[in-house]
């Protein structure tokens, strides 16, 4: 434990965020308020006259003409507000804690400088100051037609963002951001960074620390908003992974730009909303260089570095750097996936890593070459040891892993598979999830999956999905929202 993490300011910020995740769902309140108003018909509540027990109070007859005038003015006022807001908005998106990390693909070009969408003066956050003045999140506009989701980020039980793109738009880049405030039932479009979603200079992922402060990033680009996505500014460098931890944000940098394979890895930390980054004391020399990513839940952050698994190179496994204190200190360990000696299974490699809300770490182990059997192995001691592997996942070739807890884990291949006994037995999800590309758990019950089936965009290396599946019972059942 370090004094950095135990700073009361950081504890308070971190604890409040955890407590906020327990806030009630907005849906019932929205329904109640709107239903109450609907029942009122044209009868307006007068300030202070609302009676929770009896409902609407009848208006005096002499008020009718006054109310007609008021309604007219109100409608015009509301329209002005909405139009003004929508003028500021163009599509946009984000990702939740507990999502898995898998090898970040691809070479890239050097980033270019510049700033983003229209920005009112004085609205962005100054270096070192996490406060955001009076800026408040924009109301939002319509979701771009044909929106495809790439990544998700939730900052509360119902409050989340999705980053993605559309196949076409008026003025490229078509990168878009959308936001939900009711757990995913409804979404609105927000301004997104003026950056493509390609790997060379674009953003593919999103993380929000609060409703106001968020990041969109890719290996060679990093953008930050401090006003709820009303405006974005480009920061220097990029990120192969970026996670919010406590009051800080940790990013994994590969340099020079476009370095894969052959990157020099660095971990950096900044205060949320700040532009000042400091290198973290992690032992990053000699790490595998064929891909890397970050994953986090609570103060546990895991950076995974993937080796070149073709050709049977025995030493090309994965190395993990694990922090249990929000990135202040790191511990290094070698490949957690091991073949089961008794069955003589093929060499195993880590394909993806995830941290569950209970801080357990799960790795998706896949066989090198063909014929082997994949498995999920879990650590409940901070990555020191991993559970014995089970061979019940079969020869499916899973691509992603998720975990609601150490016991309840998920794997994605031709469908979503769920195990409630630490990977010993698996069952196929009853939901029609055909091509899960993203699994993330916000709490031990609430998680989300992006289904990429039928939405692959030609020429895009990015898994994109039309549908977001949400569970509130640790994956026993799922509801779906599909963007059209």
């Amino acid at each position: 434990m370090t004094s950095q993490y135990r700073d009361p300011d950081a504890v308070l910020r971190h604890g409040i965020r955890d407590e906020a995740a327990r806030a009630p769902q907005a849906g019932p309140v929205i329904d109640t308020v709107l239903e109450t108003v609907r029942r009122a018909g044209t009868e307006l509540y007068q300030a202070g006259s609302y009676d929770r027990d009896t409902g609407v109070r009848r208006l005096r007859s002499w008020l009718a003409p006054v109310l007609v005038a008021a309604v007219t003015v109100l409608a015009v006022g509301a329209a002005v507000v909405i139009v003004r807001d929508r003028q500021n908005n163009r599509g946009g998106t984000t990702a939740p804690p507990g999502t898995s990390t898998s090898p970040a693909p691809g070479p890239s070009a050097s980033p270019t400088g510049g700033t983003s969408s229209p920005r009112p003066s004085g609205s962005s956050t100054a270096s070192g100051s996490p406060t955001t003045g009076t800026a408040l999140p924009p109301v939002g506009g319509p979701v771009p037609a044909g929106f495809l989701v790439a990544d998700l980020s939730f900052v509360g039980r119902d409050y989340g963002f999705a980053l993605g793109t559309t196949a076409s738009c008026g003025t490229p880049p078509c990168t878009s951001l959308v936001r939900t405030t009711d757990g995913g039932a409804h979404w609105v479009g927000l301004p997104a960074p003026v950056a493509p979603t390609d790997l060379s200079d674009g953003v593919q992922h999103v993380r929000f620390a609060s409703p106001m402060v968020g990041y969109a990033y890719g290996p060679n680009a990093l953008w930050m908003t401090t006003d709820g996505a009303r405006t974005w500014r480009r920061l220097s460098g990029g990120a192969y992974g970026l996670e919010i931890a406590g009051d800080g944000v940790v990013r994994l940098i590969g340099s020079p730009a476009g370095c894969l394979p052959g990157c020099r890895w660095t971990l950096e930390r900044a205060t949320v909303g700040s532009t000042s980054w400091a290198e973290l004391p992690a032992a990053t020399s000699g790490l595998p260089q064929y891909g890397a990513g970050l994953t986090r839940s609570g103060p546990v952050v895991v950076a995974a570095f993937y080796g070149h698994v073709a050709g049977g190179a025995q030493s090309a496994g994965t190395t993990l750097l694990i922090s249990s204190d929000g990135g202040a200190s790191w511990r290094r360990r070698g490949e957690p996936c091991t073949p089961r000696q008794s069955s003589g299974t093929a060499e195993q490699d880590t394909r993806a890593v995830t941290v569950a809300p209970d801080r357990s770490i799960s790795v998706l182990c896949v066989p090198r070459g063909s014929g082997g059997i994949a498995s999920v192995q879990t650590s409940t001691d901070g990555g020191t040891s991993f559970s014995a592997r089970h061979d019940s996942l079969g020869q499916a070739y899973p691509t992603a892993v998720g975990a609601a807890s150490a016991r309840t884990v998920f794997a994605a291949s031709d469908s979503l598979y769920r195990s409630t006994d630490d990977g010993a037995h698996w069952s196929r999800s009853s939901a029609a999830i055909s091509q899960p590309s993203f699994i993330g758990f916000q709490t031990s019950e609430t998680g989300r999956v992006i289904d990429s089936f039928g939405s692959s965009q030609q020429g895009s290396a990015l898994p994109l999905g039309h549908s977001i599946y949400t569970t509130t019972d640790a994956g026993a059942s799922w509801s779906v929202h599909t963007f059209r």
Partner: protein, 176 residues
Amino acid sequence: MPDSVGFTDFVRTYTSMLLTAAYLMTGSGPAAEDLVQDTLLSLYGKWQRVAEADVPIAYVRRCLINNFVNSRRGRRGQELLLNELPETGYEPGIATGVADRDLVVRLLAELSPRSRAIVVMRFYYDLSDAAIADEVGCRPGTVRSTLSRSLAILRELMNDPPNRHGRSATVEKRAG
């Protein structure tokens, strides 16, 4: 229906955010739902005024805080509603040894309603001193001193685990 656009859109967009603030201030899901519901419905009759505000959500949040503080007026200190019984012991996390969330719940229970609002506005919404002062209805200096005092209490709590009854010496000392 009057204002079928502005009010409905606002409710759909901001209820979650208001609910989170209300939950952090009240410490209770049902109380938070009541507070948000009552605030929105009481504003419906004067929605024009809300729509014309420079920042409508700030206006509504100000009303929310006022309603919260007024509803607690005369009642002080320890009556923070809790969704669940306080944990009677610590379940050490991997790194922190102490659950930050529990510390925050205990801290908020220590504070007056207005101070709770100030802490929530700063540490959840990242608002500046001036913005908080505007929303809570006090001077920026009061915001700063409240935050400083809150951090001092938290520091005490961090060094003061609760006893088997779920009460810390710090809380008992203040209550006494």
